[in-house]
Symmetry: C2
Subunit: 364 residues, 2 copies
C-alpha cells in the first residue's frame, strides 16, 4: 500500500446509523481500498461496479489493492451515462453478483461517478434485502455529493431518481488524484455542486471559490483536498441531522427542482447534472429575489461565480417554459400543487418554503 502523506489526507466521520462511517479524502487514497475492505471481513466475493472508462483507468489498481489483501473481486461493468440508470442495469449487477456467489456478507464497491454510485448503492440496498456498500467516487460530483448520504436510485420515464432506497455506505474513499483525468466539462459540472454548498451553508467556501476561481479551474491539488473535505463535512452534518430528508436535508436540493426539470425536458443527454443544477440555482436565486427572500444582486453574484467557473447559468430559450413547468410537477419533492422550494436568503443561508407551483413558471 502506497503511503499517503499525512498532511494531504483528511478524514470526515459521518455519524449515521449505529456506527457511522469515515470518508477518507486525499491524493492516492485509492491504494488503501484493500485495507478498508479487509476491515469489513466479507466472506463472499467483493463485487466492484464500474464503467469501462473508469475501469480502464483504475480497475487494475483496485484489483491489485484488493488482491494484496487476499480479497477476490468480481468486476461488473455497466454502461456509462444517466440514460442507463435503469432497473435493467440494476439487473446486470444483481445477476453478476449472484452468479459470482455473492452472499449476505458480500460488499459491493461503487467505483466511478454518480451513476455508478446510485446504481451500485441501490443494488446493495436490495440484494438479499441489503448488503454492505463501499463508495470510491472518481468524479468531483460524486466525491462532494452523491457518495455521502445514502441516497441511491434509478430513473423512470416520469423522472429522475423516482425509485430507490436510502442505504448508507460503510465508507468512502475520495481520491482527489482521480479528478485529474476528468474532462473539463465533467470537472466543471462537479463544481456546480460545490458552489451549491457555498450558497446554502458556507459563505467562506463561496468566497474562496470567487477568490480562487482560477486555481480551482486549474485543479490545484491542495485546494481540491480542502474543497472536497469541506463539502463532505457539510453534507455529513446535514445528513446526520436528517437522514431521510424530512427537513434540513432538503436544503441540498437548492437548484435541483428546476435542474431536474431541465434534465428531464432535454432527455438527460444535453446537459450534465451539474450543468442543469447551475442553471437551476440561478433560477432559484431569481425566484428568491422575486419573493423578497433576499436582496437583489444575489442571483447575479451566483451567476458571475458560475460563469467564472465556466458553467452555464442561463436557461436556453429553446427549452420551452411550459414543458419545464410540467416537468417540475413530476419532481418527487412536489406534494399536490405545492412545491417545497429552497430559497436563498443570503449567500451561505437558505431556507425551505412551500410555494405554489405556478410561481416557478414566473421565474423560468
Amino acid at each position: 500500500v502506497k503511503a499517503v502523506a499525512a498532511s494531504a489526507r483528511r478524514v470526515v466521520h459521518v455519524a449515521v446509523d449505529e456506527s457511522g462511517y469515515d470518508a477518507h479524502i486525499g491524493a492516492g487514497v485509492l491504494a488503501e481500498l484493500g485495507t478498508r475492505i479487509m476491515a469489513l471481513a466479507p466472506l463472499g466475493p467483493v463485487v466492484i461496479v464500474t464503467n469501462p472508462t473508469v475501469r480502464a483507468l483504475y480497475g487494475a489498481a483496485v484489483e491489485s489493492s484488493l488482491a494484496g489483501c487476499g480479497i477476490g473481486a468480481r468486476i461488473v461493468e455497466i454502461p456509462d451515462g444517466e440514460q442507463y440508470k435503469t432497473l435493467e442495469t440494476l439487473e446486470l449487477i444483481f445477476d453478476a453478483a449472484l452468479s459470482s456467489g455473492a452472499d449476505r456478507s458480500s460488499v459491493i464497491v461503487a467505483l466511478g461517478g454518480g451513476v455508478v454510485g446510485d446504481l451500485a448503492g441501490f443494488a446493495a440496498a436490495s440484494l438479499f434485502r441489503g448488503v454492505r456498500l463501499y463508495m470510491v467516487p472518481t468524479t468531483l460530483l460524486a466525491q462532494v455529493d452523491s457518495s455521502v448520504g445514502g441516497k441511491t436510485g434509478v430513473n423512470r420515464p416520469h423522472g429522475k431518481n423516482l425509485v430507490g432506497a436510502f442505504h448508507q455506505p460503510r465508507g468512502v474513499l475520495a481520491d482527489t488524484s482521480t479528478l485529474a483525468t476528468l474532462s473539463d466539462r465533467e470537472y466543471r459540472a462537479g463544481l456546480a455542486e460545490v458552489v451549491k454548498y457555498g450558497v446554502i451553508l458556507d459563505k467562506d467556501l463561496f468566497d474562496l471559490l470567487e477568490r480562487e476561481s482560477e486555481r480551482v479551474l486549474a485543479r490545484d491539488e491542495a485546494l481540491l483536498v480542502e474543497i472536497v473535505e469541506r463539502c463532505i463535512a457539510i453534507k455529513a452534518r446535514v445528513v446526520e441531522r436528517d437522514e431521510r430528508e424530512a427537513g434540513l436535508r432538503r436544503l441540498l436540493n437548492f437548484g435541483h427542482t428546476v435542474g431536474h426539470a431541465i434534465e428531464k425536458v432535454t432527455g438527460y443527454t444535453r446537459f450534465l447534472h451539474g450543468e442543469a443544477v447551475a442553471m437551476g440555482m440561478v433560477a432559484a436565486a431569481k425566484l428568491s429575489e422575486q419573493l423578497g427572500a433576499c436582496e437583489s444582486g444575489v442571483a447575479s453574484r451566483i451567476e458571475r461565480l458560475l460563469q467564472a467557473l465556466e458553467l452555464p447559468a442561463t436557461i436556453s430559450g429553446d427549452l420551452g417554459r411550459q414543458s419545464l413547468v410540467d416537468a417540475v410537477a413530476f419532481d418527487k419533492k412536489v406534494s399536490g400543487d405545492k412545491v417545497i422550494f429552497v430559497v436563498v436568503e443570503r449567500i451561505g443561508h437558505c431556507v425551505q418554503r412551500e410555494i405554489d407551483r405556478g410561481l416557478i413558471a414566473t421565474a423560468l
Copy 2:
C-alpha cells in the same frame, strides 16, 4: 362502514419503528379500510395493488370503503402467480402509481396474497425511496405470515426473494371471511405456515391443530380468528426483537431452506409455497433427529399433522436430490459452505445451528 362484532375482532400491535402499527383481525374488517387509510391522511392518490381474481371478489368493496371516506384510488392489476414476482411486474406498479399522480404522501395498499404483498411492499419501499404501505392480506398464508414483518421482494433466476427491502406496513387488515373463497389447495398451503409457528414457538397451537384438525379444515370462523391472531402475535414478537433477521427472526425460516430449494427445482409452478414448506419442515425435523437435536418421533409427529391437514409431507423422488442440494447453495441464508439451519429441539422450541451444507444432502 359495516360494524364488526367486538367479540369477533382482535387487534395485535406490532412495536417496530417509532410508532409501530396494528393488525386488525376479524370477519368483515375489510369494510374498515377507508377509515384506516383516512387516518394516514394521504394527499396523493391511494394505489391499490391486486390481481384479477382478488379484484373480482373484493375490488368493489374496497373502492366503496375508500370512496365512503372521500379517498380516490387507482387499482393496479398485476398477474397472479409466483412467476410474476419480478422486477418487470414491479415496473407496472411504479408506472401506474406515477401516471396516476402518486407523490411522497401516497399510500400503496396490497390487496391479495403473498405475491401481491411482496411486490406492493417492495414498490412502496422503493417509490420515491419509500412511501407508506397498508396490507390487506386475503390468503391464509399472507394473513399469518407475509403481511406482518416488513419483508418484501422479488425473485431472480437464481432463487426466490433474492432482491427486496425491509419495509414495515402502517397497518394490516386481516379479514378472515376472505379465507372462505380460497381453493382447498391454497387454504391448506397456508396451514403449513400455521403448523410452522406451532413447531418453532407455540406448542399449544400445535396441540390445538392436532386436536381440531377437522374444524381447521372446515374453516370454522371462530377458530380461524383465533389461529390468525395467535400466528400474527408470534410473528410480531419475533419481528419486534429482530426486525432485520440478524438472529431470532431466522427461526421463522424453519422448513424454508429446503422448501425454497424444492420450489426452485420445480420452477415455482409445481408446488405452492406452503406445500414446499410442509415438505421442508419434515426434512428439517428429520435432520434434527439425525443431528441428535431432538428425540426420534418428532419428525413423524409433524408429518402426521401435515397429513391430517392434507398437506404433502414427503419429497417426491423425482425431484432429484443433487439439484435440491445445489439449490440450497443459492439460498440467501447461506454464507460460504455453512448454512444457518433451523433445527427443532422439541415441538414449540427450535434453535439455529450453523451446519455444513453437505449434511443437508444426507437429510434429503
